[in-house]
């Protein structure tokens, strides 16, 4: 399908937001959103990793197709992601120990973030070209980052109030996420018929 770049962007960023509408990257969404600063850093790292690995996977996919070895997609994608993450980790550790102190524990988590793997899989399934793939990767990861930050913001606000002990923690986070996700339902159908 020949989707316009703008459409790909809006679709992946808002309408089918990876986190709130497609349920990807849930573990970090629920686990790392208690502070805005953390959420933001994780979001930015994910944007970086997703974009780089999406471009790399695009290239890899070309090779696999040339060899008719499409069945190796999954394993090559994930290995590429793991390597990207590990390289990023080493690089940050070397160049900015402070940033590493802040991000260190999250970086390995990116490998097991479904959103990161989903981008190359989706872009292949949808037959995006390189430009489309890049936009898609940016939009999807940007949407992830936005959802993370939004949730972190509202979670930080709930920290100022007296949440009943029963709901403290993940249950409240889930309720917040579900309301956010309801709010995102308003975007459904944008760009669709009507």
């Amino acid at each position: 399908m020949n989707e316009s770049l703008g459409h790909i962007f809006v679709d992946a960023f808002l309408i089918n937001n990876f986190v709130l509408c497609v349920f990807l990257g849930m573990c970090s969404f629920l686990g790392l959103s208690s502070k805005v600063s953390t959420a933001w850093r994780m979001g930015v790292s994910v944007i970086f990793v997703i974009t780089v690995s999406a471009i790399l996977s695009y290239g890899t996919n070309l090779i696999l197709v040339a060899f008719h070895a499409e069945y190796l997609r999954l394993i090559t994608y994930i290995v590429i992601i793991a390597a990207t993450v590990q390289l990023t980790e080493m690089f940050i550790k070397k160049k900015s120990p402070e940033l590493f102190r802040e991000l260190g524990i999250y970086l390995p988590l990116i490998t097991t973030n479904c959103a990161v793997l989903a981008v190359p899989l989706f872009q292949t399934a949808r037959g995006y070209n390189l430009l489309q793939s890049t936009v898609f990767a940016l939009a999807a990861s940007g949407g992830y980052c936005m959802a993370m930050v939004l949730l972190a913001l509202v979670r930080e606000r709930t920290e100022l109030s007296d949440v009943p002990s029963l709901a403290r923690g993940t249950a409240l986070t889930l309720v917040l996420a579900s309301i956010l996700s309801m709010a995102f339902m308003g975007f459904a159908g944008m760009g669709g018929g009507g």
């Binding site: 939004l150 709930t158 949440v163 995102f184 159908g189």
Partner: protein, 347 residues
């Protein structure tokens, strides 16, 4: 007396202004009552019963939940009643009552008490309830019946009494009996969006369309609260302005497809939302600049959802989205403290 007077020590200030949370909330209810009365007059018995059930449902839900968790009941601050009234006003009058009760429970329990009760909720509870209902029962919640039906004061809309958990019976027979010719069940917004049919604007100003509320009356009631100093006019004003401006731009681009700004403002829930729901102090920013941004954002978003999205109405989603952003807005628009600027020594 004199010998036993116990001296009290308090911190300053030793005086307090006349306003209390309870009076504010009470006056919001007063301001909502004319609108509720109009709603009941317009749609009849079912509407009145719906409002009664949502109000009572919210109050009871809060009372019971507080008691069950061993706390003092907090219904005396009247905020649950506001939630109930507003929830009722956003629902179609023929909504099955059992769904209305579900809406109340959602609004009060996860929408408010789970966050810690009054003042703690991040999102507008009434809209959380309404959004839940809209997503759970999208057909029932968008199914409007005609106003001013002749028998509205003697007969309930049959769907009102649907058996809990069960579908309401189809309204076709009943509609055939009462409906003005050509009634489609579509709100003016839906007709405009899907069929590009514009209802006449005049009646809409007075809320005489199906599923409409009286815009002028709402503004009047809001003005009452503003004059009493119980509500901030900035959010209302900026939200209306944002919606009108965005609507205007769309209208200029394609007048055939997109309605003009006056229509944008006076149809659907925009005025009720802008006056009573966007202004819910709990979920809105506190900084002066933040309020402007917040209102504008919601106005713009409302029109974007209406004009570009799949749904005819976007106020609810816009406000919920605004609620989510309000902590961010607060953070980005701190008031400039006195003396923060560099000293300007006139020498």
């Amino acid at each position: 007396m004199s010998g036993t007077t116990i001296i009290e020590v308090r911190t300053s200030p030793h005086l307090h202004g006349p306003m209390t949370v309870e009076t504010i909330m009470r006056h919001v209810i007063y301001a909502l009552l004319p609108i509720a009365a109009f709603f009941s007059w317009h749609f009849g018995l079912s509407a009145a019963l719906l409002l009664a059930v949502t109000t009572a449902g919210c109050v009871l839900a809060e009372h019971t939940a507080c008691r069950l968790s061993g706390k003092r009941s907090t219904v005396n601050d009247y905020s649950a009643a506001i939630t109930g009234l507003l929830l009722g006003l956003t629902l179609p009058p023929g909504l099955p009552l059992w769904m209305a009760v579900v809406g109340c429970l959602v609004a009060i329990l996860p929408g408010k008490l789970l966050f810690g009760g009054l003042g703690s909720n991040v999102f507008n509870p009434a809209l959380v309830g309404r959004a839940f209902l809209q997503a759970a029962f999208p057909v029932a919640v968008t199914n409007y019946t005609p106003g001013l039906a002749a028998n509205r004061f003697v007969e309930f809309i049959p769907s009102t009494w649907a058996v809990p958990l069960m579908k309401p019976a189809p309204l076709n027979d009943w509609l055939a009996k009462v409906a003005v010719d050509g009634f489609t069940g579509a709100t003016p917004l839906a007709m405009q969006k899907f069929d590009h049919i514009y209802s006449e604007l005049g009646p809409l100003l007075w809320g005489l369309g199906p599923g409409s509320l009286p815009g002028c009356l709402i503004l009047l009631c809001g003005a009452y609260l503003v004059v009493r100093g119980m509500m901030d006019w900035r959010i209302t004003a900026s939200m209306i302005a944002g919606a009108a401006a965005t609507g205007g731009i769309f209208h200029l681009v394609n007048p055939a497809l997109y309605p003009d700004p006056v229509w944008v403002v006076f149809t659907g829930g925009l005025l009720l939302g802008a006056t009573f729901m966007a202004t819910d102090p709990v979920a809105s920013p506190v900084t002066p600049r933040g309020m402007w941004i917040y209102g504008l954002l919601m106005g713009v978003l409302t029109v974007l959802i209406r004009n570009l999205g799949g749904l005819p109405e976007g106020v609810m989603y816009a406000i919920l989205f605004g609620n989510a952003l309000s902590p961010l807005i607060d953070r980005l628009t701190p008031p400039r403290p006195y003396g923060a600027r560099k000293a300007q020594v006139p020498q």
